[in-house]
């Protein structure tokens, strides 16, 4: 039965287009990029992502790369736009960052699930690691408009890797930074500050986005405090549209463990239902 429900999750608004690059600016170690996407911007909700072909025409990279949508504006000067925060990491993301304004990319979006929004105002905490902060600013805005308190906690290995643009901060009640090397905010792993902040802000719902290990630690804290935890996970994706089954994570569905696709049933998932621990996952699926 729930398999039937899953089928309904396909993002029916996803479209494949040639999107023009309207802006490409280096911000610390990241590139903030803006794409003209027309109608697509209309159907974007915080948490959705886009999938972009990389490497150009004769590229040896045949798969798309997924990028969380940082912001979507449906009626800007240039029609609808989406904005991404790209870390130049391997060949694909470096290629993307090297493009110029006026170049076009093959883009599909919006894809995936969006962050669930509390039906009544709540105290929310948004936790982002590295470029994982990208989808949280649009979420913050939405939550604030719904009357929620929004506390944001951003962490990274070092100060420059925290992505926190000015315009993004206007919706948050508090912003806490934390770096592994102490170059900004609290010195230490982002997760170390969380329990204290939860108590301080009386947090009811946690949203998180970042590396899987961070999400896993946050989930433990969320469980300790018995909080709802909506997290945006990142598994390698081959297709981004639900046809290849590579992007799965083990999730508890009723009494069973199912391997759900993070591109269709995610990237935003209920942290409490994910089997975070690898041993348990292996055991569960090889039962």
């Amino acid at each position: 039965m729930d398999e039937k429900l899953n089928q309904l999750k396909i993002n029916k608004n996803a479209k494949q287009i040639k999107a023009e690059i309207i802006s490409n600016k280096k911000v610390g170690p990241y590139h903030h990029m803006v794409f003209a996407v027309g109608d697509i911007a209309l159907s974007v909700r915080p948490g959705n992502f886009v999938a972009i072909s990389v490497g150009g025409e004769n590229s040896a990279s045949i798969l798309r790369r997924a990028f969380a949508i940082y912001r979507a504006i449906d009626k800007g000067l240039l029609g609808g736009t989406v904005e991404l925060v790209v870390a130049p990491h391997g060949s694909g993301s470096k290629w993307l960052c090297s493009l110029n304004v006026g170049d076009f990319v093959d883009l599909i979006g919006p894809l995936g699930t969006a962050f669930g929004i509390p039906t009544t105002p709540a105290n929310t905490m948004l936790i982002g690691g590295g470029y994982g902060s990208a989808p949280l600013f649009a979420l913050a805005e939405l939550l604030k408009n719904r009357g929620c308190r929004v506390d944001m906690v951003l962490g990274a290995s070092t100060a420059s890797k925290i992505y926190a643009p000015l315009e993004g901060k206007r919706s948050v009640s508090s912003l806490t930074l934390s770096t592994d090397d102490g170059t900004a905010g609290v010195h230490g792993q982002i997760t170390e500050s969380i329990p204290r902040l939860i108590r301080e802000f009386n947090t009811e719902v946690i949203y998180s986005c970042g590396p899987m290990s961070m999400l896993s630690s946050i989930n433990k804290i969320a469980q300790d405090f018995d909080l709802v935890h909506q997290c945006s996970v990142e598994e390698s994706m081959a297709c981004g549209i639900g046809v290849c089954m590579t992007c799965v994570v083990p999730v508890r569905v009723e009494d069973e463990i199912k391997m759900l696709r993070t591109c269709i049933d995610g990237p935003v998932m209920d942290g409490a239902k994910i089997i975070w621990d690898k041993e348990s996952a292996i055991e569960a699926i090889t039962k």
């Binding site: 089928q7 396909i10 494949q16 297709c239 590579t246 994570v249």
Partner: protein, 311 residues
């Protein structure tokens, strides 16, 4: 330009055009239907289904490689019951031609699956996947040996009844693919699907361990196209009357034409769909154009044309 009869046949079944999805690369069709009408392509080949629901292999399940990728899905799927109850009706309702791919852990399971399918409405053929590399041991790859390959096919043949064409899907990871083809033809298949993925491995330089959870995976994509063309050519040369559903790295019309000229009666598109959801449609249109440019007015005249040497 003149017109083209773009239809093709696999045994008794006719398909409006020769471009199919590849098993495991279109899930059960629904996800792609938001990008195009499934009735526009020759057929949807479903992900290989087994008797029971199956979670597949542990992640990571994919690694990109130069002009290709490795996958180790391990036949995740809902099992034949849910499949027949949910996916087939949906496909039929959406006017898709359906080829059901089946996979068994042993010879009997193939028979059980065939029996479940024998009276199902709306199926055009059965593809028997005896070549999935993502299983616990290579001994389970039936297509590795003529005797196990034919045993699996015979089990299907005995149980299927009627005139549903049986297509055997073979692995390129064998010393002599013609010998395997011969064994399954003798066991009574109506067609062949060539090729499944090649067994490969990527090592992660950070962990210094195999990158895939399942260690090895199946290599697909343009990288393997020359191997697919060779396999199709070899098998068609020896068995020109056995229709072949060709696949392996087809990402545009010219690639598809290559497989057709080598001997494919239809062409399945797998990995290319991951890069471009509408790849099948583009490939269909490009192939049609290339055939017309070359003066063909019946698709079937192009099948195996590379064997009719002018030299």
């Amino acid at each position: 330009m003149s017109t083209l009869d773009f239809s093709t046949k696999i045994a008794s079944k006719r398909f409006s055009n020769p471009i199919f999805t590849a098993s495991g690369c279109a899930s059960s069709g629904q996800e792609l239907s938001q990008f195009f009408q499934l009735s526009e392509i020759g057929a949807v080949v479903t992900k290989s289904i087994m008797t029971k629901a199956r979670n597949g292999r542990i992640t990571p399940r994919m690694a990109e490689t130069p002009s290709g990728m490795l996958n180790s899905i391990g036949l995740q799927g809902p099992g034949i019951d849910v499949f027949l109850e949910r996916d087939i009706p949906w496909l039929v309702e959406n006017n898709a031609k359906v080829i059901v791919s089946i996979a068994g852990e042993n010879v009997d399971e193939y028979g059980v699956l065939a029996r479940r399918l024998r009276s199902v409405q709306g199926i055009s053929a059965i593809e028997v996947n005896i070549s999935c590399p993502n299983v616990e041991n290579r001994g389970q790859v039936f297509a590795c040996h003529p005797d196990t390959a034919s045993a699996a096919i015979e089990s299907v043949r005995r149980n299927i009844g009627g005139e549903l064409p049986i297509i055997a899907k073979l692995s390129p990871d064998v010393t002599d693919i013609v010998e395997i083809a011969r064994s399954v033809i003798n066991a009574g298949v109506d067609g062949l699907a060539l090729i499944n993925t090649l067994l490969g491995m990527v090592i992660d330089l950070n962990t210094m361990q195999p990158k895939l959870g399942g260690k090895t995976g199946g290599l697909s994509g343009p990288a393997i196209r020359p191997v697919a063309v060779r396999a199709i050519y070899q098998v068609h040369q020896m068995f020109p009357n056995t229709p072949i559903v060709g696949m392996g790295g087809v990402s545009n019309g010219r690639d598809a034409l290559e497989l057709v000229l080598a001997g494919a009666s239809a062409v399945s598109v797998g990995t290319a769909t991951f890069g471009d959801p509408t790849a099948v449609i583009k490939i269909r249109d490009e192939l049609q154009m290339l055939l017309l440019e070359r003066g063909f007015n019946d698709f079937r005249d192009a099948i195996g044309f590379a064997h009719r040497a002018s030299s």
